[in-house]
Symmetry: C2
Subunit: 302 residues, 2 copies
């Protein structure tokens, strides 16, 4: 038997109707037990791994999971292993009450919110590394980041068991890393990538947006505008990744508050330099606003 | 439905009665399907990962698994990822017909014997690394070896699903690495370590023993004798690991055909240097005979 703490979602300010009961489990054995029990009863399981501070992008993942699976578990865990900067980890927004309201409204009933000690114990030594893919692009900018992502996802999949797992394309390289580890380690998981959700002005939803000052928030859509300019160049026939990247970087530079960090133009399937075989291109960019680093990406079929 | 190729075990020269039917699957999906089906029917699954060339040590693992589990799958896969020397991989003995006879006689009905392409496909990038534990002792002598072990075991566990997994203590550090990755990655597997099986003269059974010349085979029990001498020293009150290791190394040196490679005296639970907290000590040694490198170990409770 699995003990669930049933919590009423308290936030009433959201526009969606808040459904009252979401079970929270904080122990790995309880999550595994609940999902094993569901599968034994013939129900399919959806997993939505998150770091909390849930927004409408997460809600879209949860709604899709709820539409496609019988039981959806949302994990809320700020994974220290994937942060390369202690200040970034310390500043990462947390709002479990708000998260419960989002989960309930989006149609899920189960939240897994473990402590770091529960997840890693003392002296954990095993790490999952996706060679090549984890070291390039964002991985080059944030050493160890994707090892942290790969390791925590392998753990979550190990706890959850066979499931569909939902990830947002805002973190495009993360989706590729997770797909790769699921494939390479033969995990019984189907990875489902979902389109990025954006505010009306184009800014990709991100938990980190909550850390922006009003001035920074006003400048932030420049990241998406620059990516759209890159896509327009590809649509107009440009194929040279260096030319496209330079155009995106130049567009980023027109927004004084944005400090461009990196622009990458890659084959969407390999995340390597596009070539004659490329059928889908992806443009990825990262830029900082004050202490907040944002990433975004857009794709185009050739 | 899972297609099994049913093969009659052909070797009749073994002393155990050969039971006739062992199903062989060569595809990951077929193994997963068979074991999922068994679990869905309420049966427990035992997994015995091997590199084939099965001997009585493997038979002991299979018999124990058959005694404790409803369905036992024996995997036969010479894992290229865990070989640090191409000549060692090329020379590794293979005998699938003999393996089937051992499996049948020991009471298992299912063998998973994939090709390397089936296991790894093309361009596999994900690796599992057990930091610290994988880099010391045998890991220092064989760079990458335990990453290969950890990666293939994670894959086999991913394919097999929830199970008990049986390993021999002859590969003592391997058992520790596998236990660690199962714990750290939250895999739904219970690792069962089984005592080393020895020939009458003390030589630990190993698939590599088949590669020894008669002269080398005659010298090989010197490895076990040296370890016993170390254990006798501990039993007599010696606690200094350097003194114990030196005595084992000196004993190895008395057998001219044996080229001692390493002797390690460690805490059996941490595989680190023994200290005041140590309750179980383990002495591990490696030595070469011609082109064949053998390992062995013995434990003693303090």
């Amino acid at each position: 038997m699995v003990a669930l703490r049933v919590v009423s979602a308290r936030r009433a300010s959201r526009s969606e109707p808040v459904r009252p009961h979401v079970g929270i489990v904080t122990e790995k054995a309880a999550l595994r037990g609940a999902l094993d029990q569901a599968r034994a009863a013939g129900r399919t399981v959806g997993l939505v791994p998150t770091m909390g501070a849930l927004h409408d992008g997460h809600a879209a993942l949860i709604r899709r999971a709820a539409a496609e699976c019988d039981l959806v578990a949302v994990t809320v865990f700020v994974n220290p292993l994937q942060f390369d900067r202690p200040d970034d980890l310390a500043a990462y927004p947390k709002d479990l009450d708000g998260d419960l309201a989002v989960v309930a409204a989006a149609g899920a009933r189960l939240v897994f919110a473990p402590t770091s000690t529960e997840m890693y114990g003392v002296g954990a030594q095993a790490r999952v590394h996706v060679a090549g893919l984890a070291d390039r692009l964002e991985g080059a900018a944030r050493p160890g980041h994707f090892d942290g992502v790969a390791t925590v996802c392998t753990k979550l999949f190990g706890i959850a068991g066979p499931c569909l797992a939902y990830f947002g394309e805002k973190d495009f390289q993360q989706v590729a890393v997770v797909r790769r580890l699921v494939h390479d380690l033969d995990l019984p998981v189907e990875v489902v990538a979902c389109p990025t959700v954006r505010d009306g002005d184009g800014l990709a939803l991100s938990s980190r947006n909550a850390l922006l000052t009003p001035q920074e928030r006003a400048a932030a859509p420049g990241l998406h505008r620059a990516l759209r300019l890159g896509v327009a160049q590809v649509a107009a026939g440009e194929r040279d990744p260096a030319v496209i990247a330079a155009a995106v970087a130049a567009a980023l530079a027109t927004e004084p508050a944005l400090r461009p960090d990196r622009v990458d133009v890659v084959d969407a399937d390999t995340l390597e330099a596009p070539g004659g075989h490329t059928v889908r291109m992806r443009i990825l960019a990262a830029a900082s606003l004050g202490r907040v680093r944002l990433i975004d990406n857009l794709g185009i079929d050739l």
